[in-house]
Point group: C2
Chain length 357, copies 2
């Protein structure tokens, strides 16, 4: 999409507090920029709420705020990310994404041109994902009280099948599939922030994954659970599922695809690639009998899709008395290395990568 | 509600970047604070999206970010406001509010105790409004890149009737009703910010109004349109409706209830009370025959509810040539003063009151 910005940028080169004040300037910003980019009849009613007719009564509902820095990075920007991230959260519940809201908290002084680039990117991403942005909000905070722009998108999806896709559904024996290589989003951001140069540029993996999920459902694959690998990366995702299901997960380190440059960047920065956020990657928990079929479908979208492990019954706990003070009584995610050594993949405790999404 | 904060505040007296990092601290914050306060089975699944069954396929969807300063003010706080404001936006479309999302953008260093007060207030407001907070998100931005906390809530409501409540539905002859006195929210905030003292303290009017709207619908009142009087106050609300409907609105200044202390505060600060934001006030556009019944219902909730004007056909335009350079060719909201003088109530252009909601 290459729309000409309908706001006269020469007149208002920067966002002013008054653009969030409820008066004429706000109306011009909404009418000129947001309606022009997101155009759809529901948004155009400009009512306090959009009223829509859903195809199903069973819905998925999610929200995410995006505070990523920098606003533009190789392979994406905050605008497209704000669409992909929320679309993906809906897909993780097995829903077809339908409607998004978009709420901007803008710092006074943001160049209007920057806002327009972001809004255009959101509109393009929404169109590609087949979702409509039907309601929105604009706030402007005083200079020094924000950071350029934060975007919140909430999303509604419809669940068109009888399956329950949720962590509590994971069973011993389930296979764990991954839809591609790890860590590109986080390292694309960090490479920019740290000024790292590699032979090939690392591009974010930010992308919508709902089509892959819907394809699995259409093919009749039984899906026990899905989880996208955002903040905290694969490690957090697996630990969350393991905790919710009360089961042990066993994953094979060598099966997990990581690009050479991503590996190198992680080594330079001292980061654990399994904890690095992705924005277009998910783990799928699939019953053993459906796993080959599911993998074949996922590999049609990405050749890097792979089987990385399986779900085991909960490990028997040793008594804490025996174990000493640092013993973790329920080691729930186990990583098997190339030489067969097993280590516990523990929930990260600190902030590895702030403002990554 | 007077829950004991389940996060050990002595251990983490302030919010750290790591509380938004996707690791253990974030899990503890979500599990300990948000789940404890908002408790409901849908939120407790802790999935990427909440999956819910709606009673109707016709829904209303809205979003609002709250950036009000100070965080706590007479009559309310950012937490209860974040619930009331979104509940009210759903009500303005004639919907019964059902589900909210809540997304926090927290500045590193926010006292944990402050966050807990806000979260408790949100939980209390949600309970009173009969809505559930079923999905959420937490981001932490570095010190100096935010301002304490911003909250976004998106909301889903169900439309349980066949009426269309929307600006495009307003007709000539419709009566304009108001559900109470004007300007208290804005002036409560400004009085705190400016250190103004009055004999009686001005308290915000922040409150949910959905019960009044649902009562009107249950009573069989035909509602053409509803609009809450937030940013830009009565003036913006009426101008928006007038523009959307393409009709002239005529309101009687003397009919509009404003408290004496609010008047005084506006005079001191040089503000136009008709442009001051309310958080529990709305204008209703009701066909003439249903207006008395509607007013009686609204007066049961607030004795200040009143008839303030009516909708006229579009005014015939004078030719611009005749009118001189400053003539506004479509004066759409007309205010009739006590002595019968008529003036145009124009859309505010500047930022009267930043960070009011």
């Amino acid at each position: 999409m290459d729309l000409f910005c309908p706001i006269p940028i020469s007149q208002y080169p920067h966002v002013l507090l008054a653009h969030g004040g409820g008066g004429k300037l706000m109306r011009d910003l909404i009418g000129g920029m947001f309606l022009a980019a997101f155009q759809n009849p529901l948004l155009e009613t400009q009512h306090d709420s959009a009223v829509a007719e859903l195809a199903e009564k069973k819905i998925a509902f999610t929200t995410d705020s995006y505070v990523v820095r920098p606003l533009f990075f190789p392979g994406g920007d905050i605008g497209s990310m704000a669409v992909h991230g929320t679309v993906n959260d809906l897909a993780m519940a097995g829903a077809r994404p339908v409607y998004l809201s978009s709420a901007f908290v803008i710092e006074e002084g943001l160049p209007m041109e920057t806002l327009w680039r972001i809004v255009r990117s959101m509109a393009g991403a929404a169109k590609k994902c087949g979702v409509q942005i039907i309601t929105g909000d604009t706030k402007v905070v005083d200079r020094g009280k924000g950071d350029g722009v934060f975007i919140n998108t909430a999303g509604i999806g419809v669940v068109e099948h009888a399956q329950t896709v949720a962590p509590q559904n994971v069973c011993p024996g389930d296979r764990i599939l991954l839809n591609g290589d790890l860590g590109r989003h986080g390292m694309a951001i960090m490479a920019v922030r740290e000024g790292l140069q590699f032979e090939s540029r690392i591009e974010s993996d930010s992308a919508p994954v709902h089509e892959t999920v819907l394809e699995l459902l259409r093919a009749g694959v039984q899906i026990h659970c899905l989880r996208d690998l955002t903040r905290g990366g694969l490690t957090s995702a697996l630990n969350e599922i393991s905790a919710a299901a009360g089961l042990t997960l066993l994953v094979e380190e060598t099966a997990i695809p990581v690009r050479e440059d991503v590996h190198a960047a992680c080594e330079i920065l001292g980061l654990d690639v399994f904890q690095v956020a992705c924005e277009g990657r998910f783990a799928a928990f699939i019953p053993e009998r459906d796993a080959p079929h599911a993998l074949a479908i996922m590999q049609k979208v990405s050749k890097d899709a792979c089987l990385i492990g399986q779900v085991l019954p909960p490990l028997p706990r040793r008594s804490e008395a025996k174990a000493g003070p640092n013993f973790n009584p329920s080691p729930n995610v186990i990583l098997k290395s190339a030489i067969g050594a097993r280590r516990i993949l523990d929930m990260p405790t600190g902030e590895q990568l702030p403002r990554i999404c």
